[in-house]
Point group: D2
Chain length 312, copies 4
């Protein structure tokens, strides 16, 4: 559970207590949760810290309108579905959200590959990092997948799990102890040894392992957020980033319910079939019995095609 | 003067009349002018239609803070000046503004070259453009500059001006008449001639000249907005885009007064001297008399250097 | 037909005649056509002026290899299909192409909306534009589509066509005459009237209509080029930009034959079905007879779904 | 020293031995070093693996020319200096370079913040990382700077240095031993213990510290490369990324000698003075004696101003 300091909790509460009048569009779903830290993993969180626009910003921009641009909910829904289905992406760039996220460094390294966003990360050159590192829950300790070179397979046995958790915890604790020691600091920031100078923060940090937590402000528009979610909420994404994506999916639903619905329909639950797959489909619908050798699909694509049609 | 239709005026008024409570940061300077059409050129305007954050968003992100992130105004000012002076640009990406702009197509063509922004333009494939085109004021009818291959020189004489204004106006009117005629429409959108089908809008529009007005929604973050303004509010920018930049400078001042002040100080009024120019400066400060032949600057750079130091 | 001046033809020939030795990957398909102007529309062209990498750059980057990164053609083909099918886009960003394109301004205005590219446009502030404007072939003069608010329908009748072609030609000629006149230039660049100063180029150009030709250097990576082609080679794209996309499709095939094949299979000929459409598909494959009222698809989506399955 | 495996050395040599004829522009300076691994830090390197264009690509695009676009070297030099001095950045986007870089993860984390580039990183989800981690040379073990919250001060004493080097080395070795152990692998990739499954690679990697080496393919255009170098070759950049920037500066000089010269003159050695600083300068040049209290500069800016003018 993310342990916020008393001061952090107070700052969040003060922000939540503030209220002001605005002529801008307001998302009641987001106002409800604004600034709150939604816990993820053992020490992480996601907080919405600001936003601009909602579903109406999408239709307003699509119509280049002088007013709110919205009409009946049904017309707006139809327009949003149409835009998403036909890859008209620019109207979705007109709404924006800003999150404060705390996550393990190896998650941050995947996250940052989405370049169409703005980021301000907490600087370990400037400040000392806290003793906070990710240790997976035992049920997350999976073996290397046999079929998938970049995925997980079965959960490891309890004995092996115990051993792994010990190693991860002990190494992270020791690395952090040595980090403080090289800085010549104790946990409270007091100098340890008057005879030593202490290593520069920008160097000492290199002793920390990739499961230590970092944090950043992250701002992204609705179109690019959906791109992020399509990849990171996917079952093939690594679990440790997928749990963040799932929290953000909930935020998306509160923020832009019509866009969320269309996104689920036309992206998350949609399927793309290749030219060969479409040809096979047409023959199957005409009553033909098709096997892999009747098509030019690769074995791998054929298997995915079969399982796509079988899924319920 | 930009003539809004009654319906447009009503829509703007309705948006302005709306008020809601928000926990977000509110910029009182922008709330004041939100949705209003600020006139530019003969038919253009700039309207702020949404925004996210203000100066506090910059310091909040720079500090990756849990609360508002702001301290005393003096500390915030110092931080913002420091960030801008040292090219720490990412905190300025954390505030965002959305404008509705109406401008001549040749202005839009320069504007769109700033890629780090989001745009939804009014579509002349989808809708018919209005009979609105830019005709310069007589005092803007300048001759080609002799020194500057891409600038203006002196204002042309009254006789030549009259002739030019006639040509511009008559050609635009005629081109628009023919545009409607090819569409087989009258001004009210009624079909002209039952015997004709009317040319597709996406084709007919090619007969309009570059001074016709278009409009778009344009969203940009504070960092990229300052890049835009540095180039387009510059005296070397074409007058017709500079007047938009100047209106946006006023908006910037209302929105983020501390950032505006630092931007003026460290960008608009700042000067960059090359390595050679700095060497010359040091010698001049040491009391030497320096002429062009004492330096390795090009003639053009030397002239600019001289006039930079002479300006008061 | 694009009429190049003698000097332009000579410059192109000189570039084509040059040859040098390189250790870089060479695309024999592109070397063949390098620098040549491939004609498009009545005065436009596309020229490949440089490129970096080919199919091997994609597999090399995907494998982060020390050498060429390529293995057997079959393995490379499999990898490229896999990458494209699973939206692994970054390896395709590792190959780059640079084109010199000449096109009508209204086409350039659509083109420039693809922001993930680099552009240097011929400047009409700096130079005088030529008397070259697009006039559609009679078979391209289509009426406004009735079903599609932004498309074309049937070709207009011969009488209406003649009238339209006259208007387009006469207006463009007159606008160009007046452009020169305002500049106080004749066609050869000689001053017309000693008593006049001539309007600045940056102003005079506003009298030209949107069918005048402009040109630019355009550089883009393979991933973003495929995005461009997916949208602009689509049957719904406006004809005048689609013909450019089709020429570039041929270039793509010469440059990166494996990627081209995968792109056709997994993008151009692929189909995306929404969650509702997939549910319907599964029921149809199980032998059910499905009509629109059995699904939650909109009427429009249902119609598109039907025609997708019916297409041969 | 970067130890390449025999196979890697062979692959590099084979690439270097290849030669083909091309009509493209060739940079003899880059051909000379193409594919070679230039060592950086204790295990890192930079390799140029491809490039497109050279100085001539800049002038060619600036002139939107049909041929090579180059004239006399002096004219080209003048144009390039002019473009850079006046922030005409788009012509510099027309040349491109691709590097293969191996660097510590904490360096990669700074590097990736430059978003206007293309990256393919070696995947530790897919493959096992090598036992290669950065240990600073003793003369790089600096204490935290007292004036600069994110920089280094004096080198620490020999006793403290010895202790730090021991800690860094032992922790990295132990973390790597445990990484292999959790994977249930020995160094040669053989399974250690038949009774254990081995943790998935995507999880085990989290035990590695930030000084372990990663590698990627990195492609960037000349304009954005100069932005990178301006920030990362700066004396305020962290030493461990600055040494990479310095190697790339050498590459820049070999690739685009005219642009390199202009970049050094108008960026690296240039100085930007704020509005207040310019006012002070003018008074000083007029013979006035100016102290901090005569200006509106902050103390910090004033100090930087003084040292800028004093520097030799």
């Amino acid at each position: 559970m993310s342990k916020l300091s008393d001061e952090q909790t107070l700052q969040i509460q003060q922000s939540r207590d503030s209220a002001a009048s605005t002529r801008r569009v307001v998302s009641s779903g987001l106002e409800e949760i604004l600034y709150e830290a939604i816990p993820v993993l053992d020490h992480g969180f996601v907080r919405v810290v600001d936003y601009m626009g909602d579903d109406s910003a999408v239709v307003q921009a699509a119509r280049v309108s002088y007013g709110r641009g919205t009409r009946k909910v049904n017309e707006d829904r139809g327009l949003i579905h149409y835009l998403l289905r036909h890859w008209h992406t620019t109207p979705f760039e007109m709404a924006e959200i800003k999150l404060h996220v705390k996550m393990p460094i190896f998650v941050a390294r995947q996250w940052i590959r989405h370049r169409m966003a703005n980021v301000n990360e907490y600087s370990a050159r400037y400040s000392v990092l806290d003793r906070e590192f990710y240790v997976p829950a035992p049920e997350q300790l999976a073996a290397q997948s046999v079929q998938n070179r970049q995925g997980r397979g079965d959960v490891v046995g309890p004995e092996e799990a115990r051993r792994i958790l010990n190693v991860l915890t002990e190494d992270a604790q020791r690395n952090y102890d040595h980090y403080l020691d090289m800085l010549n600091h104790d946990e409270a920031g007091e100098r340890l040894d008057e005879g030593r100078q202490g290593l520069a923060r920008e160097l000492a940090r290199m002793n920390l392992s990739l499961n230590f937590y970092t944090q950043w402000y992250w701002k992204i528009d609705l179109h690019n957020l959906m791109n992020f979610l399509r990849l990171r909420a996917d079952p093939h994404a690594q679990y440790e980033i997928r749990v963040y994506a799932e929290v953000i999916l909930d935020i998306l639903q509160k923020w832009v319910p019509l866009t969320f619905e269309a996104f689920r329909e036309h992206r998350l639950e949609a399927m793309t079939f290749s030219g060969e797959a479409v040809k096979a489909l047409r023959r199957m619908l005409a009553g033909e019995k098709i096997t892999h050798s009747d098509t030019a699909m690769s074995k791998r694509e054929w298997d995915e095609f079969q399982s796509a049609l079988a899924k319920r």
